[in-house]
Structures are given as C-alpha cells and as structure tokens.
C-alpha cells in the first residue's frame, strides 16, 4: 500500500450506501478536499454479479482505508482485501457484537453509527489535526435523532399488519421501526420459489398488505405481486439513485417509501383518510 | 438433359477436374470409370448440384428430379428411423415400396433401424430410395459397393432396366467394369480430365483406357479381348501416361 503524501487520501467502500455514510463523516470533519470516498460497486449496478476491473483493484490497493461488509456478503472482495494489512480495513459485520443474521447492515442507522465510529478512528490516525472523532459523534447523534423521528412517525401509522418482503433483506430497516415482516419469498438472491412457499405467503398475508422489493429485483418481484394481489413498493436498498446525496437522505427516502405502504393500506381500508398526504422527496 | 461445358474444380489450389465437357442424353445410361482420386465423386457432386464449379457451366433443368446415391452415408443413431419410414419419405405408397424392396431383395429388413444396417443392406436401401422417387435422372456413386455378388449381377441388370421402367437417364460411377460394360450406353473414362468417352466396346479398346486399367485387369476379367502394347503401371501418376499435362 504505497501511500505517498502527494496522492490524496482515499477511502474505498464496497457499496454505495457505505460510501454515502463515510462521505457524510468526511464532510462533517471538513476533510472533503483532502479525502476522497468512492464505492467499488458503482451506483445502479448489481452487487451480486460483480467482477472487479483493474481500475477498481487499483483504487482498492491504493486506498487509505477500505470499508466493506464482509466475506459473506462480498465474496469477490475477500481475496483482494485479504492481501491488505488488516489495520486499515473496516469490516462492517465484524463490528457487530451479536452474530449477524441479515448482512444488509447498512439499513440500520444504529449499526451505521458503529461503522462511522470505526472509520473515524482510523481516519483520525491519518489526520490527527482534524477533529474526526468529534465529527463522528456529532454525526452519529444526528443519525440517532433521525431514527427516533422515524420511529415516532411509524408509531402513528397503522403498521400492525406488517409487510411482505420479496428478498429477506429488510430486517435492519423494519425491526427498529416495529414493523413486522409477515413472510419473505426468497432468502438468498438465487433462490427460486416453490408453490409451497407461495401458498404460505398467500395464507399469511392480510388484504392490502404490500410487498417490498429492491429496485434490482423489480422484474422478478412484479409478477409475484400481481399473483398475490399485493401492492408492490419498490425500495432502493443500494442507493442506486444518483440523486441521493447523503446517507441521511438515503434513510429518509427509504422511510418515505415504506410509509406509502401503510398509507395506501389505510386508504384501501376506507378509514376515511385521503391517500394524498405527504409523498415527499 | 445435362450438358457440362469446360467445368473445372479445384480444392485448396489442387486441380481435381480440368475442363470437363460432356452431354448426357435422355434415357442414356452413362458410366463414369477411372482410378481412385480421379475426381469421379467430385464430378457427380457437381452434377447433383452439391458443389459449385470453379469455372465452366453446368446446364440442367432446375426442376429435374434426381435420385441420388452418395458414395458415403453414415446414419446417425440419434434419430430412430426404420427402413420403411425412411423409404416412405420418398414414396408414401406402401405397394410401390414393397415392390421395389422386393426387386432389391430387402423385403425382410423393412423394420430394421437405418443405423444398424449392414454395408450392403444400406446400399440397397439407398438405391431403393433413389428409385422410389421416380427420378428423371439417377445419379449413382458406386451404388453397389459392398453389395454381394448375386446382388451385383441382379442390381446392375435392374439399373439397366430402370431406363424403360422409369424412363430416366442414369449416370453411374463404378469400378465393376466386367459387370457394367454390358449394361451401359456410354463410358466416360475420367482421370482429372476426360481421358476417353464413347461406347463401351470402343472405350475398352482405347489405348488410354488400357493404359489406365492395364493389362492384368483385362487378363483377370477376361471379358474383353484387345491388344496390349505396353506395360500396365499401378495407379500413381497415371496422368502423365495419358500423354498430356494438367495444371
């Protein structure tokens, strides 16, 4: 890892949402002109079939800090990262105290604070003059605040029915908000659905309950939504939209999408409320 | 019926056929003879339309119905196919098929699978198929190779009789000079170019013919009588002994 002082310090993350959070931290610490942040998987591309390019390997090798989720999620990075000194690698899954079941950790603001702290500690070593740690705690406080606001918002919504998810990946988003997941259709991306599973989902779902799916899974999920008669709500789990500029905005967007699920549900229940409330972004 | 004018064909720069000219008349039986590698099969493929000549023209009615027996055919085993079904692709009428099968002595293998036939049986089936199409021209490339002796005699007679039965012309490649010579109208002796062409009796006395096929053959066959004024030489560069060069 040649890190000549002439070259700008770079942080490379595996996925766009991680890059957003790290960028937030860098901005907060006022290091934006000294530190660049990029993601290996570009926005809008599938994380499932990724093959490394030379340019990506290059930036991975020359990065000051590498942030990834872990080999369970990103097998294709395991070898390249294994060749680095472990001090400047941050593994998201490794930061968790409890054993990880759902590796889509970036959907949890709480987990993300841990990652931000870990990155900040490494960044502080490289830039002792900047107040990185303070910036991290300010940023984390903001994240906690946002989580609380979200929790309050969803507490007011009729979320008892829960949701149906296509791919078992929303645990970290739904649990803190107290939303139940009544069933999931697939647990790993390549899995295919049996009639049995489909019947179980159908029998467990309530009328009007919506099906959550990632943008990437839209073509597969759409026909199932039709089959089950569930409204399909598409969430952007990997921050593929270029308009999402920060991790906070990413979370807000997810929350808004999720909220439409329950608003339309109440609308269909005919409980009198107009569905045309804030549908904002 | 078919006219070839200055037809040339070469593979990979090697000339196989050199300025071939001949005409096949209606109801004519013509036999192509010549040593191995002379280009007989190539010529037959050109006439059947399977290959295109490099130069020269082949005049032929495009609607001419041809019955063709290739020199090599290997049936793949991936398709189950009975002899009777194979023949029914040429003629759906069962009675016709039965009579031709009878004539060819293969009535008993109608239910055999094509890919399990013996060499001679396959050859007979291919001939049956060519006949069943009621062709205007039969193109036969060594039709009786692997056919047993009794069959050879009978089948060459059958082929000769097809002219009147089907009203068709026959172009045949054969090495069985002793059997063919009696049944054919004209013989073309081919060796890259047309060595000699004419009635069987005249060809069999032609010095080119004798040079190509040699004294010993004539002796062994004991079919024709003629004079030998030179040594026979084994196939090899017979071409130059034809007295002219090819390029």
């Amino acid at each position: 890892e040649s890190n000549s002082p002439a070259e700008p310090f770079s942080i490379v993350t595996s996925l766009p949402p991680l890059a957003l959070a790290v960028q937030d931290l860098v901005n907060e610490a006022a290091l934006a002109d000294k530190v660049s942040v990029e993601s290996i998987v570009p926005r809008g591309q599938s994380a499932h079939h990724h093959a490394l390019k030379v340019s990506q390997l290059r930036s991975l090798k020359s990065a000051g800090i590498v942030v990834w989720v872990g080999p369970e999620m990103e097998q294709y990075l395991a070898k390249a990262i294994g060749q680095r000194r472990p001090e400047n690698v941050v593994g998201f899954a490794a930061l968790m105290q409890k054993p990880v079941v759902d590796y889509h950790l970036w959907l949890s603001a709480g987990a993300m604070t841990k990652l931000v702290t870990a990155v900040a500690e490494k960044l502080a070593l490289a830039f002792p003059e900047a107040n990185v740690l303070v910036a991290a705690s300010t940023y984390n406080a903001r994240l906690r605040q946002q989580t609380q606001a979200m929790q309050q918002r969803f507490a007011a919504l009729p979320t008892e029915a829960g949701v149906l998810v296509f791919h078992e990946s929303l645990h970290h988003l739904l649990t803190p908000l107290g939303i139940k997941q009544s069933a999931s259709l697939v647990q790993v991306p390549e899995q295919q659905i049996s009639v049995h599973t489909l019947m179980q989902a159908k029998s467990r779902m309530l009328p009007g309950q919506c099906l959550l799916a990632d943008v990437e899974e839209l073509p597969q999920a759409q026909p199932y939504a039709e089959k089950l008669g569930a409204p399909l709500v598409v969430v952007d789990l990997l921050a593929s939209a270029a308009t999402t500029k920060s991790y906070e905005a990413f979370l807000a967007l997810l929350a808004n999408k999720l909220a439409t699920c329950f608003q339309s549900a109440t609308g269909q229940d005919g409980s009198g409320q107009d569905g045309t409330s804030q549908d904002g972004e | 019926m078919i006219t070839l004018t200055d037809v040339c064909k070469s593979y990979d720069g090697r000339t196989i056929l050199d300025r071939i000219n001949f005409t096949l008349g209606e109801r004519e039986i013509c036999t192509l003879i010549g040593p191995n590698g002379a280009g007989k099969s190539t010529l037959v493929k050109l006439i059947a339309g399977l290959e295109l000549p490099d130069a020269g023209t082949i005049q032929r009615d495009p609607r001419l119905r041809i019955g063709y027996v290739p020199q090599k055919l290997r049936m793949e085993a991936s398709m189950p196919l009975k002899v009777s079904r194979f023949l029914s692709l040429a003629d759906p009428l069962k009675v016709n098929r039965a009579s031709v099968l009878e004539q060819l002595g293969i009535l008993h293998i109608g239910n055999s699978q094509m890919h399990s036939l013996s060499g001679g049986e396959l050859q007979r089936v291919l001939l049956a198929r060519a006949i069943l199409r009621k062709p205007q021209l039969l193109v036969l490339d060594e039709p009786l190779q692997g056919v047993d002796v009794a069959g050879q005699v009978t089948l060459y007679r059958l082929i000769a009789s097809l002219r009147t039965q089907l009203n068709c012309a026959v172009l045949m490649v054969s090495h069985d000079l002793h059997l063919v010579m009696a049944q054919t109208d004209s013989v073309i002796c081919l060796n890259q170019h047309v060595c000699c062409h004419g009635k069987p009796e005249s060809v069999s006395r032609h010095p080119e013919y004798l040079r190509l096929f040699g004294r010993s053959v004539a002796d062994d066959l004991a079919v024709y009588t003629h004079h030998h004024d030179h040594q026979h030489n084994l196939h090899g560069d017979v071409v130059s002994s034809c007295g002219h060069h090819h390029d």
Binding site: Q192, I193, K202 | -
Partner: protein, 265 residues
C-alpha cells in the same frame, strides 16, 4: 394437502407448462438430432447482449433482446456452412462470446439502473392469463409450421446432402428450424426461465429416443414425457416445498434415468 386454493395457484402454471412441454417435445427432437443442445443457452446469453445494447441505445428492451437472438442465430447459420467445426463448438463460441459481451455491457452501463440478468429469468409460477394466451398462440403457430414442413425438415435432419439433391431448400429449412427454436425459447425464457425451457427441450427428447422406433413417435413421446414431468414437478413443488422449475427438470431427469433401465436389460 391440495385444496382449491392451491389449485388456483398452480392451475395457470400447470396449463402453461404443459403447453410449453407439448411444443418443446417435437422441437427438442430436432435439437437432439442436430446436436444443438446448447442453443437455448446461447440464445439466453445473446439476449443479455441485446439488453445491454438496448439500454445503451435507448431502444425497447424486448425488441433489443429479439435482435440479439436474431444476430446470434444468423451467425450460427452462417458458421454452420463450413464443416470443420461441430455444432457444439460453434454454439460454445457464440454463447461464451455473447456472455462476455453482456458482462462488459453491464460493467460499462454504470449509470443505468439495470440488472441485466433479471431480464433473463422468468418463473413458471408467475405466468398470468395473457402469458398463457401468448404461449398457446405462439406454440400453435410454431407447431403448425413444424407439421407443415415436417417431411423436408426430417429429410434435412437425416442427411443434408440427400435432401439438397432432392430439391429441398436445406439452408432455408435450417433457418426456419432455428427461427422456430428461437421463438419458442425466447417466448418461454421470459415466462418460465432459461433452465426450464432448455431442459424441457433436451431431456424429454433424449428419454423418448431410447423408447421409440420412429422420428414421429419420438417427437410425440417427448411431448408426453414433458407434460408428465411438468405435472409431476409441479406437484412435487406443492408437496415437497421445492421450486417449481427445478422440480420439473429433476422430474424429467428421473424419467430419463428410468428409460436407461430399459436398454440395460
């Protein structure tokens, strides 16, 4: 175990699967005879290139996929004119090259929010009534063409040279067959998935080969075996909780293994 509700969920897939199996039987026989087992695979990969190009050029994706398939089929058609390479080698070259092109397309299309692969996979369980119409309509047309051209197609499969001398337009028929296969595969791919359609082409036909004595019997038996596999696989999917497509494929494979016993006597 199987109640009305289940029936409702599996009725459409069952009908769709049976339709596809029925047309895949005769077509699959040609696939086996002409050694084109990997045509489906190749077509799927060519669709990938089509999608990549479609996204790039901003044209309709279905159109682009069809275009990709047409280009690959025509290339194969041209390449098959030479005889020094076998069909499977040519298919291998085309299939791997188009997969590579597709993957490069994916990596270059950073801004477009597409998972190209997702366009390739359908699932039998999600077919709806309009899909059913498409399958049966398309299938009928293909089947009608197949029956109409059966004799010359068969002759061409037996021996191209013999067929050509008999005045059969061998090249055109080869193209027709390829188009029919491409249409059926393309139709089915998006509805039931690549795996299922290619397997339904090959496995029932291979099973039928070992049990029949004539090409027509093979085609018909292949269709029946395919239908049996669809029914069996779907029921397995209800009872054993296995995915429908793979269930059907395994059911067909089991029938194939059974057919092996017949010859081993």
């Amino acid at each position: 175990m199987i109640d009305l509700f289940t029936l409702q969920i599996i009725a459409l897939p069952l009908i769709a699967g049976m339709g596809i199996a029925a047309i895949a039987g005769p077509l699959g026989s040609f696939v086996v005879w002409r050694r084109m087992s990997y045509f489906g695979d190749t077509l799927a990969h060519s669709a990938l290139v089509g999608v990549a190009l479609g996204v790039f050029a901003g044209i309709n994706l279905t159109l682009a996929m069809v275009l990709g398939g047409v280009v690959v089929s025509l290339s194969l058609w041209q390449l098959q004119k030479q005889r020094s390479l076998a069909a499977d080698t040519l298919l291998g070259i085309l299939s791997h090259s188009s997969l590579a092109l597709g993957l490069i397309g994916v990596s270059l299309l950073a801004s477009a929010k597409v998972n190209l692969f997702s366009y390739l996979f359908g699932d039998l369980l999600t077919v709806n009534a309009s899909d059913l119409l498409m399958i049966y309509l398309g299938g009928m047309i293909c089947l009608a063409l197949l029956v109409f051209f059966w004799r010359p197609l068969l002759m061409t499969a037996i021996d191209e040279d013999l067929a050509r001398v008999e005045g059969i337009a061998v090249e055109k028929l080869r193209l027709l067959l390829m188009v029919l296969m491409a249409v059926v595969i393309a139709l089915s791919m998006k509805l039931v998935g690549v795996l299922l359609i290619t397997a339904l082409l090959i496995i029932p036909a291979a099973t039928a080969r070992r049990l029949t004595q004539s090409p027509e019997a093979m085609a018909l038996l292949a269709a029946s075996i395919g239908v049996i596999a669809v029914v069996g696989g779907l029921f397995a999917s209800v009872v054993l909780d296995v995915p429908a497509g793979p269930g059907i494929v395994l059911c067909a494979a089991a029938l194939f293994v059974l057919s092996l016993l017949k010859h081993a006597r």
